[in-house]
């Protein structure tokens, strides 16, 4: 009998092959067995191609599917307590509770019918979002309920969700150092621009300013993926590795650095190793209320040395003197040229 590519039996077998080979346990023998099965008939091959094409389509549309499936997410609170405590839903607005009640019963009924994931289960999985913000010049030490520590630099925003299944951080314009508590069952995932960073238990610093990401690892292993291209692995970083990436670009560069330098801001120092002045000033402007501007060519000049992040006048004087730049103080900015 000739098998039809569309027959249920054949489709089920092709799907079983596809899923089994996506497993982390798949071996070369499994692929050899698949090769033999595909070689048996054109119908096998066609059925497998159909599954593979569908799976690739789902990967490509993952973001749209996720958006269409996810229940409406509550807006994150603007200012959060320094120690993470999930905010009580609907506490601030009594009318919210009245709206929620009938929806709740409908959802419970849907759960009994086993038709969908209840949003409470999904929110439990994701955790409620809590947003942390620092003003320019303000730094903040945050201890999360899982024992992880985040040190947030000035002028930074990040939001945290501690769920049952994962710990997730969305990094806005921010610099932060992380000391993540080990919990293999709950991966710690950070979204920064178009990269996704994933860790189990480790210490690292992230600088995400002006759509440019610098990630430096001091302890443990950090994995960087690119959700925009099928969640493909970009790199796996170990102690002393530093990854640089510009949002929207395909390439990232990986170098070996002194990991302590990236963390120095948290002890009031800025360690620069051959860095362009423009980039250094962008760091400084997250720390001091009075912005510094560097005129064109000066921004490209490179500086190596340690800056003490104390009094701004002393810092600028030191920097300008060292690099032979002139400084002009205006009421709204300091100009270096």
């Amino acid at each position: 009998m000739v098998e039809q590519a569309g027959s249920d039996e054949l489709r089920a077998r092709a799907i079983a092959w596809h899923v089994r080979l996506q497993s982390d346990r798949a071996t070369a023998d499994d692929w050899a067995a698949l090769t033999a099965w595909l070689d048996e008939s054109e119908a096998h091959l066609a059925a497998f191609e159909a599954v593979e094409t569908l799976a690739a389509e789902l990967d490509a549309k993952a973001d749209s599917i996720r958006a269409a499936l996810a229940p409406p997410v509550l807006a994150p609170p603007v200012l959060a307590p320094p120690v993470l405590a999930p905010p009580v839903l609907g506490r601030a607005r009594p009318d919210t509770r009245r709206i929620r009640w009938p929806a709740w019963t409908a959802l419970a009924a849907a759960c009994v019918a086993g038709l969908m994931i209840a949003p409470w289960a999904w929110n439990g999985w994701l955790g409620s979002p809590v947003t942390y913000r620092t003003a320019i010049g303000e730094t903040r030490a945050i201890t999360l309920a899982d024992g992880s520590h985040i040190h947030l630099d000035g002028g930074s925003t990040l939001s945290v969700r501690l769920g049952w299944g994962q710990r997730r951080v969305a990094l806005g314009e921010a610099q932060a150092s992380f000391d993540v508590a080990k919990d293999p069952r709950r991966p710690f995932v950070i979204d920064a621009g178009d990269e996704r960073i994933r860790v189990v238990g480790t210490e690292f610093n992230i600088r995400h300013y002006d759509a440019s990401l610098v990630l430096s690892v001091r302890r443990g292993v950090v994995e960087v993926r690119s959700p925009g291209s099928g969640n493909a692995m970009v790199a796996r970083l170990r102690k002393g590795d530093e990854l640089r990436h510009q949002d929207g670009q395909a390439q990232a560069t990986l170098t070996s650095v002194d990991p302590d330098a990236a963390f120095a801001w948290s002890t009031g120092r800025l360690i620069c190793s051959d860095r362009p002045l423009g980039e250094i000033v962008s760091d400084l402007n997250h720390r001091y209320a009075l912005p510094i501007q560097v005129s064109g060519p000066a921004a490209q000049r490179r500086f190596t040395g340690v800056l003490i992040l104390g009094d701004q006048d002393a810092l600028v004087r030191h920097l300008a003197g060292y690099m032979a730049l002139s400084q002009e103080r205006r009421p709204d900015a300091i100009i270096l040229r």
């Binding site: 089920a12 996506q22 982390d24 798949a26 690739a56 749209s64 959700p227 990986l254």
Partner: protein, 174 residues
């Protein structure tokens, strides 16, 4: 980038060992030994240039990398073919404008197709839907999905098979 000269790269070692198996597999997939050899060479170029990283299952990694390269190539060929057909319209019938973007009804069809997929996922039983979200949408591995759901890996695989079956039933063949 850190390169350790003392240890041979396990992925490169696996590549050298699995090269014949890779060529056999992709010869069947591409229906051409020549195309398979070219693809397997491309796998080598990819792994030789990749950043230092530990890979848990190098064999699986190589076959999946090859599959991705193959799908990329198919997509590229299809786009090129569409462009040629579009030019054919310009020069053939004269005056018909040709665009590289999908036509308006294609965009509508794509939206409807997405809607069908979403409906199919919503109609799945809760555990299958959770497995689909975690593995397919959040990028967790089978093992991580199993740990997160507190079920065995084979249950996760069963759920994912049910999902693909359901979606394929609803959207039909691409």
């Amino acid at each position: 980038m850190i390169v350790d000269d003392q240890q041979p790269d396990p992925v490169l070692t696996a590549y050298l060992e699995r090269r014949p198996a890779l060529i056999r597999y992709f010869s069947v997939r591409l229906r051409s030994v020549e195309a398979a050899e070219e693809l397997v060479q491309d796998i080598y170029l990819k792994i030789a240039r990749r950043p230092a990283e530990a890979i848990e299952n190098p064999d699986a990694f190589l076959f999946r990398l090859g599959s991705n390269l193959m799908l990329d190539r198919i997509k590229r060929d299809r786009r090129a073919k569409r462009r040629i057909e579009a030019y054919g319209v310009i020069y053939g019938s004269g005056g018909e404008p040709a665009a590289d973007e999908p036509a308006a009804d294609d965009a509508l069809a794509a939206r409807q197709r997405l809607q069908t997929i979403v409906e199919a996922v919503k109609a799945l039983p809760a555990p299958a839907q959770t497995a689909f979200r975690l593995h397919k949408l959040e990028g967790l591995s089978h093992a991580e999905t199993a740990a997160a759901m507190g079920v065995s890996r084979s249950s996760v695989e069963k759920y994912l098979m049910a999902c693909l079956k359901q979606i394929q039933d609803k959207v039909g063949r691409p």
